[in-house]
């Protein structure tokens, strides 16, 4: 380190280089900060949803032992097989029976806090297992909404002592509520469920997949393998690229103006929702499909052509099977996006209050994201937790779909 060999390293030089290295470090730190910010926001989002959502999978339940042997409920075993068995139990006096059982267990005031439809859960248990009528069973029945709020220490003051008293006795507790996954929308957050919306989402996605996947793949094959270079092809390409970037709400307007004009009776049906989302998903599938097809090396095509395959055979016997994993990845990502889409479905009327799960592609339905939106609009505190729980379910579905896409990509990706 003699002076002669480093004559350029003057004091000014050293100072400058120090400054430059400091700037370098700062810059790198800012970059790291940007990433950390994004990841932190993601973490806050997920954690806050989970914290709220865990409560959403629970509800406040009163413990009511019912002894059917002494209660004297008379009903034929055959009636319980009928479709309207719950009504039959109602006329047989089940609501009164449940109420008196509740009075016995919780006292008169406590029994009043039972949810209005709590007896229905007892009725469903009996329909599922008629042998119950000859035995005794302890039910955990939903309290009404005001009493549930009282357990959280909110809502009406005068209910809180009673809630606390029953809670201390172990008769009034928040319990895991598996029915949340099996019920449908309701006005009372204590008895809402997500199954109706989930089923609506599944039906809608089936329609979307059935339309967007074949059309998207076939269009990608045409554009990549056969399309002549002319104005029409350019027009198709420009429309696909633009459709991929058109705001989703515009597709909702299209669905409203065109599909609902053709099928006015199917307002808020999964059929119309699926068709609207299919138009939105198709360009995504075309674009990812084209990339996957492009990645298949030309030598495959040349080889097949050389041994006498026709152009159609080349594509359907060789190119398409090789490109399929890539196409599937793109399709799953497109479907995941469609599953989380809300705005276009609001436009075509899938925001109605639907209290029963849809029984077909043409019956009124709602979907998960719209259900989340509707619940988030509710003023009742009980809905906040339910909304977060629904969000967790939606995110789990999206996570599974994206995970599947990543797995497919890693498992079948070929480097040629």
């Amino acid at each position: 380190m003699s002076e002669a060999t480093h004559s350029t390293r003057t004091a000014r030089f050293e100072a400058r280089i120090k400054k430059r290295y400091a700037a370098e470090k700062r810059f790198k730190f800012i970059g790291l900060g940007a990433i950390v910010f994004s990841v932190t926001v993601l973490a806050i989002l997920l954690v806050s949803m989970t914290m709220n959502g865990i409560g959403g999978f629970q509800r406040a339940e009163l413990t009511v032992p019912v002894d059917f042997r002494t209660a004297g409920l008379t009903i034929d075993a055959e009636r319980l097989e009928d479709a309207d068995a719950v009504q039959a139990l109602e006329t047989a006096g089940l609501p009164m029976l449940v109420e008196s059982a509740a009075e016995e267990a919780l006292g008169a005031e406590g029994a009043q806090q039972l949810g209005g439809d709590a007896w229905r859960e007892v009725a469903q248990a009996i329909v599922a297992d008629p042998a119950l009528l000859q035995s005794e069973k302890t039910f955990h029945l939903p309290a009404n909404n005001a009493f549930a709020a009282a357990l959280r220490g909110e809502g009406r003051e005068e209910l809180r002592p009673l809630a606390k008293q029953l809670h201390d006795k172990g008769l009034f507790e928040r319990r895991f509520d598996p029915g949340f996954l099996a019920r449908s929308d309701a006005t009372d957050p204590q008895v809402v469920g997500i199954w109706g919306a989930l089923k609506g989402s599944i039906l809608t996605m089936l329609i979307t997949l059935a339309l967007a996947f074949p059309i998207g793949v076939l269009a990608a094959l045409y554009l990549e393998e056969y399309a002549p270079k002319n104005r029409w092809t350019d027009l198709i390409e420009v429309s696909i690229n633009n459709l991929a970037a058109v705001p989703s709400i515009i597709f909702g307007l299209l669905g409203l103006a065109v599909f609902l004009w053709i099928f006015p009776y199917y307002r808020s049906a999964p059929l119309i929702g699926g068709m609207t989302l299919a138009l939105m998903t198709m360009p995504v599938i075309v674009i990812s499909g084209r990339n996957a097809i492009k990645a298949v090396p030309p030598s495959i095509r040349d080889g097949a052509l050389a041994i006498g395959a026709s152009p159609v055979q080349v594509v359907f016997h060789h190119v398409l099977p090789l490109a399929l994993p890539g196409i599937m990845t793109g399709t799953i990502i497109g479907m995941a996006r469609a599953l989380g889409e809300t705005a276009p479905l609001l436009m075509i009327g899938m925001r109605a209050f639907v209290a029963t799960p849809p029984d077909g592609f043409t019956s009124p339905a709602t979907v998960l994201p719209v259900q989340i939106f509707l619940w988030s609009d509710e003023i009742d505190r009980g809905f906040i937790e339910r909304t977060s729980a629904a969000i967790i379910i939606l995110l789990v579905f999206l996570l599974v779909m994206n995970g599947l896409a990543i797995y497919l990509r890693n498992r079948f990706e070929k480097k040629w």
Binding site: Y21, A23, E24, F27, K28, G31, L32, G33, A34, I35, S38, V39, V41, L42, L45, S48, P214, I215, L218, A219, L221, Y226, L235, I236, S239, I240, N242, L243, A245, V246, P247, I249, I250, F251, L253, L254, V258, Y265, M282, P283, V286, S310, P311, V312, R337, G340, E341, T342, A343, L346, M347, V370, I372, S376, T387, L394, L395, L398, L399, I406
Partner: protein, 459 residues
Amino acid sequence: MSPTILLLLALGLGLAGWLAARARAYGFKREVGSTRLAALPNYYAWYVALWVLIPIVVFIAAWSFIAPQMVTSSVLASPAAANLPEFGFLRNTMLNEAMAVATGQAQAVFNPQAEGLVEPYREAIGQSRMIGLAATLILGFMGGAWAFLRIRPDFAARTKVERVVMGILLLASLVAILTTLGILASLTFETIRFFGMVSPMDFLFGTHWGPDPMAATADPSRYGAIPLFWGTIFIGAIIAMIVAIPLGLMSAIYLTQYASPTWRAWLKPALEILAGVPTVVYGYFAALTVAPIVRDAAVAIGISNASSESALAAGVVMGVMIIPFVSSMADDSIAAVPQAMRDGSLAMGATTSETIKRVLVPAALPGIVAGIMLAISRAIGETMIVVMAAGAAANLTANPLEAMTTVTFQIVAMLTGEGSFDHPATLSAFALGFVLFLVTLGLNFIALRVVKRFREAYE
């Protein structure tokens, strides 16, 4: 459910035709012996199956459109329909009720007047089902028989089948053009109707927005969309971009230039998850978590009238949503800069950050700018975040703490309200959609051009 059953029937007939033709082709093979068939037996099978399926599918598509109208008109012609109310809501309700009972969806009619219509409906529906079934069978057999009789050992079945396949491929790619045309047509049509009631000048340059869906006539002074355009630009193009551009760009730079492969393998999927979160979840997050924080912060610095719905909360969350998008666009454009430019700069003694700031980013700038334009087009078209967090008041202000409304919010509000479809308030949603469509189209078009030219420059 009738079209579904017909389609299943068509599939069955197609399968029968397929099997029959295949058997016949194998028969030829045995008869002819040494001479070869003009195509593989499966192609004969597909040829017949296509001739069975295509006419039926075309028929079912047309029939499911015509049949309900035929049913309705034949019911209306029946004597029971004579004493129906002339027009309007009640008439439709009765018809729907009677139809629901006739098809078994409902147990009984609510309206006694509809009772008499049930029988005609049942008859008409039964009749139309019979016609549909018969036509399906006849068409299937005719198409199948014609094709079946045409197949001979020297019949070029493969070329015929492949021509149909090419036709189907072309049709599939035309769906994109049809969709674009459908969007343009529906938006233009309704927008023209709207402009027949409210002049474009009042709409585009008016500064007061407050449509009244219940008012009998349109008051043009209530349809000024400037506050909506301003709200959209302020939230989507200003606040969101102030968040998204620096964070997205720096994320991309860190990921591509600094992060070790292990970190990259973890951080990139995290950003992808951020991009995959549905907008309704972001909206909920904005309304439930971010908006109260913004309000409390505003109150803490001495602004007493801060509202719980603010442009700032919506804009910031929208910016976070856009970060992964900006980041991946910037990532692509930086990766497209030739390695030689980077190496040259480093060889001259520049530090990594100097190389990035002075060489890579300037070289990648066209791509980055195009990416930002796409990001803006996405932000201004975003709906759920503003619906849930930005508020409904059309304020023309530059204060980010006030509630502000956007084009997309008003489209949702106008179309999910109670107004009838002919009311200018409802139609204004289509005019707003038209403006939104044109703006995003313009942004996308320019951006894609820039990206294309930029790519060519380095290839």
